[in-house]
């Protein structure tokens, strides 16, 4: 079957580089944001989240930056590894609704 990775923007990096994946969200009232990683043939996996009262949050090797002025979210991955190769997508939640809105994703390819 056709892969979910087709038709997506692709970021190609070398192992050890830092990667930055960007996401533009749609609703200025969204107050919670999540980054997911999806490997081929698997379900989306939670990476990191951030509330709208923050502009930066760090996890293990990952950092999420939120710029509410321009409705932009980014995921930074430090020292990228081949195992980081996957599709990454953001999701936004507006607490006035009960559902998430997902971005279409970016494929990250890491070369050894």
């Amino acid at each position: 079957g056709e892969s979910v990775g087709l038709h997506l923007p692709t970021l190609s990096v070398q192992e050890g580089d830092n990667s930055i994946i960007n996401c533009a969200y749609s609703n200025s009232a969204s107050d919670y944001f999540i980054w997911y990683k999806q490997e081929s043939g698997k379900g989306p996996q939670f990476i990191i989240d951030i509330r709208s009262n923050m502009d930066k949050r760090q996890g293990q090797r990952v950092t999420v930056l939120l710029n509410k002025t321009v409705k932009h979210l980014s995921l930074q991955i430090a020292a990228t590894q081949p195992g980081d190769s996957a599709v990454y997508f953001c999701a936004e939640i507006f607490s006035g609704y009960s559902t998430l809105t997902f971005g279409k994703g970016t494929m990250l390819l890491v070369s050894p």
Partner: protein
Amino acid sequence: DAGITQSPRHKVTETGTPVTLRCHQTENHRYMYWYRQDPGHGLRLIHYSYGVKDTDKGEVSDGYSVSRSKTEDFLLTLESATSSQTSVYFCAITRGTASTDTQYFGPGTRLTVL
């Protein structure tokens, strides 16, 4: 996979036949969701449930129905499958008590309608 199983994992069926996909969770979560994922569209919400017998429609609910007769199972039914319903279907749960908490996904079911 957050204690979520989906069955079957793969299914091939013919146009016009009924199909039921099952999502099973073991952690007694209140909120459960069904999504479909297609190239170029990302994840789109079909239906969701906020408790036993409590369900609501999502963005792409036409042609689908759901049922939740017990907390642990959320069923998605295609009454008469069409080729446009060929997709990968994901179930998700929310671990918190609010529908706006992070969603965690199951492994997916790949459905092909011929």
